[in-house]
């Protein structure tokens, strides 16, 4: 079958009827015993194991692989590796699809499906090719100059632009594949396994160094894979085999094919992407039992990609060089290829990419393509060389093969749209600047071009190394390295094979020495090399007309950046190379300018009439080639995204059917719904729900304490379930108030403080009087940041003269210990104090309610629980029901309560015992929600909910905790003018006037300052929220004065034991305003009148906890 895309003039050429018209009868490193079938744009094609998608497409005679980004010009394969700008394709279907792969980098496998990423409606017939004809309208940066009026239409313009943009299609399903990371350390990391890299690795490894050598290709060898040279008396291929065997025999060597070193970070940290699944199947022994199931659970078996995170003592960059295209009219036509790519396809894949080839070059290397084509049985129309002298010694071989060599000629034109038909060749002056003489037309279907070579200095540059211009080779070469790295071979501007081998060996030995190994020298393989004529820079073939009036001369193929674009940019004042790049999109394609940048800079240099060196290069950023997000994320996704911390009692809670709340990394029981238990309707929330409908949303959900986290239990969007409050919470609250309730408080941070200076240390941290505490007593303590704002709070217990025990908030645990250690070590190292976290040593069980003491007294043990022996705010250690425990008589609920610390491993047993013994009191387990309600009824603060880092203890009414006659962290800040302002926001209680409204937590509060005590109307803009009116440019928006806010609601609940809602809030000068009425501004624009009251709603005298 012929490719529809391929040009008719090849119709009767040998390929007719053959599956792979361009496949050579023999040769190549493919496995012809393994034919593979694949589909390209739904057309079935054949290839062989060892092919890349690109080589297979060429073999099948498919010329047009894609369309360019801007002009939608038909494009064919230009290169043979990561430099490929044109053959960008979508591979795979469903969850397996990957966008924007380069056909030249995709290892062929049976059943592979690939499709073109651009072109509408299709690849062959692309309507958007119209852009090619009105290209002058689409000059560089045209979009900055139009689509501005009318402003409202921009949205529409943009939608069209976006439709036309983009390359491949994102997968629509979660990634079923798995990725891992591998941290690795080595003495020497060698990047690139070409001749130089292999020699370097050999030299270092033979000397005993730990070596990692990585190459992006599936086979090691680099240029040796398609070189006609002879090395040490062998063919390149034979020598390669021997070298690899020798390397594999060395101890401490890691060989990484299919592995791209894509990032070079500080301290010789390099990242390598290993494409495990691209590698020829090498089944891994024994896979594990399937990892536990989870949502979108991952496939078993071999991982797709592994990201290596390497720390190397020494890095050897043998990254090779990238061949440069030449810039001439229509130099983008399918059939125009890099000369090296032609040789590559012939030697490595047994594919001849053309029937009648023509070579166009400014250096000798391209002549190899001529010889290879001839050897492959293709006709070679001519070798066109811009140099007056033409090629060196190799020219003889070329001419012996009967090939015309046009010295001092350039290509000035190309015919053929979907495939090169012929080229126009014209004599050029010695300096290559002017045409002199008549043109002739030469028929050909393949142009193998070479503008010289650019060393791949990307990693060297990423490492912070400088770059210098080499006049000799007309390219940028590595200058001073930025870290412990060195460049060799073609990557260092040494293009001759013998030089590569020698350099490689030398740096390998040096590296071994630098890493402390005794270098083991060995003889350098000799190579045969012919004399070479020096390259003559040719950045743009001269034309009869100005570039503006000639056919397009492409610099950046993928982004369609032409010489004209660069000239326009300069004309408009964009003269810095970075500006030119950004204005013309030069180098912003998925190839990151690997082919285009240097020619672009040359074009810029020409416009500015400066040497290229002065134009300077642009910075190279990671990654060298694109890297899958999944590979960077590694295993840390889904259930392994972050640790899930569970308390020792978690399993019990789960069995009891608890709803859980996510608190930092912890999972805490939120409440314990019972079978058949309903949810209590809340009057207001019904209205809220209705209002939600009004504004077409469920904003109403947000206005209840249970709004958000019920998500943990319910499917998203089930608003109805959130229009009320769980009966369970009401039941739990009443149980705690009336009889007995039990809670798992194990997540509390716990710290032991021991040492001679424990008191002195704690005095400086906490605001209360620590020295005055008696052994066996507890105190509520707060710590401030140096800015005077409340940082954390908890209970401090004095276990001994120099032994204290502190609790912190769940979220604050790590931070507080960090904070204490910092002060102790950096500010007061003279203090003899030791801090140890015991958070996980103890599980903490809170027993709350009038019957809590009775329960404990009913259990056998050696602790006396009666009021006289065990008063409020004290601690006892002993045995309880056979368990060693610490019991704290503290209360976060205002009830008679005890907090019991028991060794984590024994927590479940004790909990069960308490549940069993508590049966007679109908003991009720409760979660964080009830805990919040109970403490709110008592006006106890929750750091982080009632405070936000801008709230001082004075604002909270905690002056009684601030000791005058000592200094402590943050004290001085409290004396700053702003902290003493009378109108600071102070913590108060709120009661809704209607007695039913549970205010949404976070609700803003405003004065009732308009006539009739009604609040002002919301500003226009807020009511028009989101409507286009608001967004419309030029129109007066949000004219209404902002409404001053006097505070906001920090906590809000329905109190079952009080029978009405309660709220806590920060209100400007609030404490002095008890009894005043203000308004809560609900987000639907309605206001709820509220009264400012004391934050203590229940048992204000605090008698219940003292009984």
């Amino acid at each position: 079958m012929r490719a529809k895309a391929s040009s008719p003039d090849k119709g009767d050429s040998g390929g007719m009827g053959k599956q792979q018209p361009n496949r050579l009868p023999r040769g190549g490193r493919i496995d012809r015993s393994q034919p593979l079938t694949f589909h390209f744009n739904n057309r079935a094609c054949q290839g062989y194991a060892g092919d890349t998608l690109a080589s297979a497409l060429l073999a099948n005679g498919i010329d047009v692989i894609g369309r360019s980004f801007k002009y939608h010009r038909p494009r064919g394969i230009m290169g043979s590796g990561m430099e490929e700008p044109n053959a960008i394709i979508q591979v795979g279907v469903g969850a397996d699809t990957v966008p924007n792969l380069r056909a030249t980098e995709v290892a062929l496998y049976d059943g592979l499906t690939a499709s073109t990423v651009r072109g509408w409606p299709g690849l062959d017939f692309d309507l958007l090719a119209i852009n090619d004809f009105c290209h002058r309208l689409l000059s560089a940066g045209f979009y900055y100059k139009t689509f501005m009026r009318p402003g409202a239409l921009w949205k529409w313009y943009e939608r069209c632009l976006r439709k036309a943009s983009g390359l491949g299609v994102s997968p629509q399903l979660p990634d079923p594949d798995r990725y891992t990371h591998r941290n690795a350390h080595c003495d020497v990391l060698v990047v690139g396994a070409g001749p130089a890299g292999l020699m370097a690795a050999l030299a270092a490894a033979k000397s005993g160094a730990r070596v990692i050598i990585a190459d992006e290709q599936s086979e090691f060898g680099g240029s040796l894979l398609y070189s006609a040279a002879r090395v040490a008396g062998n063919s390149a291929d034979e020598w390669l085999g021997k070298a690899l065997t020798a390397l594999a025999d060395c101890p401490e060597v890691v060989l990484l094919p299919c592995s791209t070193v894509f990032g070079y970070y500080d301290y010789n940290f390099l990242t390598i992407l290993e494409r495990c699944r691209d590698r020829p199947a090498e089944p891994r022994q024994g896979l594990s039992p399937s990892p536990p199931e989870r949502e979108g659970s991952k496939r078993q078996g071999e991982i797709r990609q592994r990201l290596w995170r390497v720390r190397a003592k020494r890095v050897i960059l043998a990254t090779g060089a990238i061949e440069r295209p030449l810039v001439f009219p229509n130099n983008d036509r399918p059939g125009v290829m890099l000369a090296s790519a032609v040789s590559h396809y012939i030697h490595r894949y047994g594919v001849c990419p053309g029937r009648r080839g023509l070579i166009f070059a400014n250096n000798d290397s391209a002549c190899q393509a001529a010889l290879d084509l001839a050897a492959a049985g293709a006709a070679v129309a001519a070798v066109v060389d811009c140099r007056a002298a033409g090629p060196g010694a190799i020219a003889d071989a070329v001419e012996q093969a009967g090939i015309d060599v046009f010295r001092g000629h350039v290509i000035t034109g190309v015919t053929g749209r979907k495939r090169v038909r012929s080229v126009q060749v014209t004599p050029v002056s010695a300096d290559g600047k002017t045409l002199n003489g008549a043109s002739k037309t030469i028929a050909c279907d393949l142009v193998a071009m070479s503008g010289g070579w650019s060393p791949a200095v990307h990693l060297h540059s990423q490492a912070g190394g400088g770059i210098a211009w080499s006049e000799a080779h007309a390219c940028f070469i590595p200058d001073k390295p930025g870290q412990d790295n060195v460049s060799v071979g073609a990557g260092n501007g040494s293009f001759a094979l013998d030089a590569c081998l020698a350099e490689g060996q030398q740096v390998g030995l040096d590296a071994a020495r630098q890493c402390g190994f005794e270098p083991v020298p060995f003889s350098t393989p000799k190579t045969v090399s012919a004399t070479v004529n020096p390259l003559q820079p040719l950045w743009r073939t001269p034309a009869l007309q100005s570039p503006e009036r000639s056919p397009k001369q492409f610099l950046d193929y993928q982004n369609d950046t032409t010489v004209t674009d660069v000239r326009l940019a300069v004309r408009e004042g964009f003269q810095n190379v970075e500006h030119v790049k950004r204005y013309t999109a030069l180098g912003f394609g998925t190839d990151q300018g690997k082919l285009g940048n240097i020619n672009g800079m040359a074009a810029l240099a020409e416009c500015l009439d400066k040497p290229i060196a002065e134009v300077g290069t642009t910075t190279f950023r990671p990654p060298y080639t694109p890297v899958a997000f999944g590979a960077c994320a590694g295993m840390d996704v889904g259930q392994l995204y972050e640790p899930v911390r569970k308390t020792p009692l978690h399993d019990w809670h789960e069995a009891a059917g608890a709803e859980f709340e996510v608190v930092g990394q912890w999972l805490r029981p939120w409440y314990f719904p019972r079978a058949g238990e309903d949810r209590l309707p809340l009057p207001l929330t019904k209205k809220a729900g209705a209002r939600g409908a009004e504004t077409g949303g469920e904003g109403g959900d947000r206005r209840k304490p249970f709004a958000t986290l019920s998500l943990a239990a319910q499917a998203p969007g089930e608003a109805s379930a959130r229009e009320d409050l769980p009966e369970a919470v009401a039941r739990e609250c009443l149980a705690a108030r009336n009889s007995l309730a039990i809670m798992d408080a194990s997540t509390l941070g716990k710290i032991e403080v021991q040492g001679l200076d424990a008191v002195a240390f704690l005095e400086r941290i906490y605001t209360h009087n620590v020295a005055g505490m008696k052994i066996g007593r507890c105190a509520y303590g707060i710590m401030l940041g140096e800015d005077g704002m409340l940082m954390d709070d908890g209970v401090m217990a004095r276990l001994g003269e120099r032994h204290f025990y502190l609790t912190t908030t769940t979220g604050g645990a790590a931070g507080v210990l960090h904070w204490l250690e910092q002060w102790l070590q950096t500010e007061w190292p003279e203090l003899k104090v030791y801090l140890t976290s015991v958070t996980e040593r103890w599980a903490t069980i809170a027993l709350v309610g009038p019957n809590s003491r009775k329960l404990l007294q009913g259990l056998n043990g050696d602790i006396a629980f009666d009021q006289a022996d065990f008063p409020f705010m004290s601690v006892r250690s002993g045995v309880l029901a056979g368990f060693a425990v610490q019991v704290f008589r503290v209360s976060f609920s205002g009830e008679l309560a005890f907090e019991i610390n028991v060794e984590s491993d024994e927590a479940l047993a004790l909990w069960r015992k308490l549940m069993e013994a508590g049966g007679q009191y109908d003991i009720t387990p409760y979660g964080t929600e009830t805990m919040h309600v109970l403490r709110a009824e008592k006006g106890f603060v929750i750091v982080g909910q009632d405070t936000d880092g801008s709230v001082s203890p004075v604002d909270l009414g905690m002056n009684w905790l601030l000791t005058e006659d000592k200094d402590y962290l943050g004290k001085r800040s409290l004396a700053r003018p702003d902290c003493r302002r009378a109108d600071r926001k102070q913590w108060v209680g709120l009661l809704s006037e209607d007695g039913t409204t549970v205010l949404p937590e976070g609700t803003q509060l405003v004065e009732a300052n308009t006539p009739g005590g009604r609040p002002p109307r919301l500003p226009l803009a807020a009511l028009l929220e989101g409507s286009r009116l608001v967004g419309k440019p030029g129109r007066a928006r949000g004219r209404a004065r902002p409404i001053p806010m006097v505070g906001h609601v920090t906590s809000s609940y329905y109190s079952a034991c009080l029978g009405h809602p309660i709220a806590l809030a920060l209100v400007s000068a609030g404490r002095a305003r008890k009894g005043d009425h203000i308004h809560a501004a609900l987000s639907d624009g309605r206001y709820v009148k509220v009264k400012i009251v004391s934050p203590i709603f229940y048992d204000p005298k605090g008698e219940r906890q003292h009984v």
């Binding site: 970070y265 500080d266 301290y267 940290f269 995170r309 720390r311 912070g464 140096e786 800015d787 960090h818 250690e821 910092q822 070590q825 950096t826 500010e827 190292p829 200094d967 004290k971 001085r972 800040s973 004396a975 700053r976 003018p977």
Partner: protein, 85 residues
């Protein structure tokens, strides 16, 4: 990716450490005697130099010891290690 030398545990990956900001900012002995400006200077003002910077680090996931390093904020190179105090 920095490589940091903990004076106790040796050289470890950056991810084991936490950054503690500018070093040598001594807490005033008698804060009460300071003017608001002097206090603000201690509290907020920083050198934040482009170049050598003496800074605090803690081996958070290691020995939990704090120490002071000198680092070039452009090259990210460390030049000296010493214990706190």
């Amino acid at each position: 990716m920095l490589l940091i030398k903990c004076p106790w545990c040796g050289t470890r990956d950056e991810s084991e450490f936490s950054y503690g900001g500018e070093a040598d900012i001594a807490r005033p002995a008698t804060p009460d005697t300071l003017t608001d400006a002097e206090w603000a200077d201690y509290l907020f003002m920083r050198k934040n130099p482009r170049g050598l910077h003496r800074e605090q680090w803690v081996h958070a996931h290691g020995c939990r010891r704090w120490f002071v390093l000198e680092r070039d904020t452009v090259t990210y190179r460390f030049s000296a290690t010493r214990e706190p105090g």
